[in-house]
Chain length 460, copies 2
């Protein structure tokens, strides 16, 4: 049995696989910050070399932003299925750095309550996850001389900064990238013991808003109460975004939001979601969102408006009595169903503008927008993948929703006509986008074994 | 006439006086930032040396914070009046540095629309202002061998950071510092042509508040809407501070706030306040404060609640989809009449705490609190000072209110039993506490001449 030999190979070579993960985590490929541009390029080059070494024909592809990496394997023959595997080599910023207990770019395996965890920025999102697939392919080729299906590996470096190069790149390289189905490893397991396929993803609209008032910062003693304070204006607008039931008040916001069916609610209820553990793990105790919806409904099926950042005036040590000239915020909206990103953006801007008093103006900046995605669950790719996952983990893989957004999944569908199967081995407590990001060693090793099984299953 | 010779001396020596001002402005004595601790000490030493050179017996006095400087002149004899002159050698922070058109610690005289302006941090608040007095004294001593009255010069280095050492220092040195009256040069002229004595000062309460929610920053996709967002909580609380008429909603806030008398309103109306110029100079057009009160009433006689700074979540370039663990704000309250600082602080903290949802807690930090001050206008010190100012400027000095706070004036009254005469030559458009602070050369030179006249007048 080829698969058994491949699985044994993965188990035997786990130390060298881990060393490869460490190598890529050590490269600080923060795509949102221009200071790390060269590091992003180095990360792309590492990914390309690694794919070539594993047995793909890979190269770095320049864009106007951070480069793409594409690696092809077509040795399975013209009649074999062809899948596109997508991942991203860029990572989130690391601030606040002082909250990290280890250097975010000096990965290690640490023991936490008897569980081995790999630490470092991007170790879960998405470097560890994407390597589960590449390591599975490496093991197949090393052990059997090839892969059971044809595979294109496609890695981007702008996932954490709104993917400005993605649409042009997909459009220009559609023939090369179009496959029978896409595989994406950027999602979670249901829990530590239960693998999952994510079938619903929320969309995303992200906006910067700056409220300008006086021409320069003012002394709050001389001008206080007489001069318009843009922090007050911004705070009042942000406070207005939700009513007392947690519902978002932007006109038209809920257009296109489907109610969750009783059947779906019942299926989710069967998952046995542990609300206490979910909130307890982040130091909270209860849902803070829309009244009348369960926590799973809130994070999987309801749209959101979240202020992701705010700044204005004096924020250093001590006291400074200033009325600032401006105040700004970053706001993201998670979308579901048929909510239209551009309509949401326009309505949000109108919502802000209508609330500005005399002497204030608002400046907006878009950081992208993508629709929500629902994937069909009855197609053979999902069924075969689910069976392979269930073999590895010894229990049925869950079909779940996901609160996050993976815009490229929408683009695969609209630009390349491809469905996507979303499989990931991250855990809810991986602290992605936060200090002390980790990826369980079990996620890495059994994730790799899972992909080895999926590659075999998809060939059948 | 000694005074004429002194005034001529000041005019002749204006370049060397300006050079001394440049020397002290070049020392970045930012008291709120511990990184500038040594610079604050250097500034104190410079002030002490300068006083000794001018003819005082001066020294640097250590405190647990930044040092005080005390210089004495008692050559006018036991029967002459004794005044305490107060100023401060520390300055505000300089951020945002990118908005300065010149290095804030490299002063220069620049020509702006035909007006000569001295540029640099602290050039108006308060290094230029305090030097008008010291230069006047220097000229008196240089030209006549002494001062017409006995003078103690008392300079602190913590005025911009809540003066933590002031009360202990005044208490321990009461005998040395108690004089017949205090003079303070940290206020404005009425306009470029009209000198002023400020007879009302607002008090100040300053608070930091941090709202804590989750134990660490969260991914807004996975947790969005379900997890409590402390930016939302803080924004809603800050938005609640004022009602739609601009009135502050903290319970009991207006206890002790006097209504302005019809007589006072009439006096202020006679000043011919140019509202259009006041707001036009800061890029605004109209008052934003309490409905039913004129701009002068708002800034002189009404209490305020101003958010001076806010920060939370991701505030760098680009987009980061985070729900932060905490968000914080700095809030100051200007007090009038008999408002009690500690009651205001307690009521504010209760106001915040009552509005916290489950899973949030607030952490508070005080940056001091002082009552408002009203000075009697019919005492001889004010009358003599007003006459001297009127001689220099060729028009009656205005008796005005002031929106800012000078806590030491309260402390002189309560701890030393001294009234204070507040005379200053700053202008509303000096951009104190803001980028591109300036002090008009005319303020510096005619301010010095004014003090020379006041010293003579107080001897009479």
């Amino acid at each position: 049995m080829s698969l058994d030999r491949v699985l044994a190979h993965i188990d035997n070579e786990c130390d060298s696989a881990l060393e490869r993960l460490f190598q890529i985590v050590r490269i600080p490929s923060i795509s949102a910050d221009p200071a790390y541009r060269d590091d992003c390029r180095r990360a792309a080059e590492w990914c390309s070399s690694n794919l070539n070494e594993a047995g793909f024909t890979a190269g770095v592809r320049p864009t106007i932003g951070h480069p793409m990496v594409v690696g092809n394997y077509d040795g399975a023959g013209a009649n074999a299925p062809h899948v596109l595997f997508y991942g991203h080599y860029d990572v989130q910023p690391i601030d606040p750095l002082e909250l990290w207990t280890r250097d975010p770019f000096d990965p290690a395996v640490v023991d936490v309550d008897g569980e081995k965890q790999i630490t470092g920025r991007g170790v879960s999102d998405d470097k560890g996850q994407l390597l589960t697939f590449v390591e599975a392919a490496r093991a197949w080729i090393a052990e059997t001389g090839g892969l059971p299906i044809n595979v294109t590996v496609f890695l981007e470096g702008e996932e954490e900064s709104a993917s400005p190069s993605m649409i042009p790149f997909l459009t220009e390289n559609a023939d090369e990238l179009k496959a029978d189905v896409a595989l994406v490893c950027d999602t979670n397991m249901w829990d530590r013991a239960t693998p999952a396929i994510s079938t619903m993803l929320r969309g995303l609209v992200y906006e910067d808003v700056v409220v300008h008032a006086a021409s320069h910062d003012l002394h709050s003693g001389y001008y206080g109460s007489a001069a318009c304070n843009p922090i007050h204006v911004l705070a009042a607008i942000l406070a207005d975004l939700h009513d007392e039931t947690g519902r978002i008040t932007i006109p038209g916001f809920y257009d296109g939001v489907p109610e969750v069916s009783a059947e779906q609610k019942a299926q989710w209820a069967e998952l046995g979601f542990d609300e206490k553990a979910f909130f307890g793990g982040i130091g909270l105790s209860e849902p803070a969102g829309e009244a009348g919806y369960s926590t799973l409904e809130q994070i999987w099926s309801r749209p959101t408006a979240e202020v992701n950042g705010i700044i204005g005036g004096y924020t250093g040590e001590g006291a400074k009595t200033v009325i600032p000239a401006l105040a700004s915020a970053k706001i993201s909206f998670r979308l579901v169903g048929d909510q239209d990103p551009e309509t949401i953006r326009e309505n949000f801007r109108a919502f802000v503008t209508e609330r500005l008093p005399a002497d204030c103006r608002a400046e907006f900046r878009s950081h992208g927008g993508d629709r929500a995605v629902s994937q069909p669950v009855d197609n053979p790719w999902v069924q075969k993948t689910r069976a392979a996952l269930s073999s590895e983990w010894g229990r049925d893989a869950a079909l779940i929703g996901m609160g996050g957004s993976i815009p490229v999944v929408t683009q695969f569908k609209t630009l390349l006509g491809m469905d996507t199967v979303l499989v990931g081995f991250a855990l809810e407590d991986d602290r992605i986008h936060s200090p002390n990001e980790k990826y369980n060693l079990a996620s890495f090793q059994r994730g790799t074994r899972s992909w080895a099984r999926i590659l075999a299953a998809l060939a059948a």
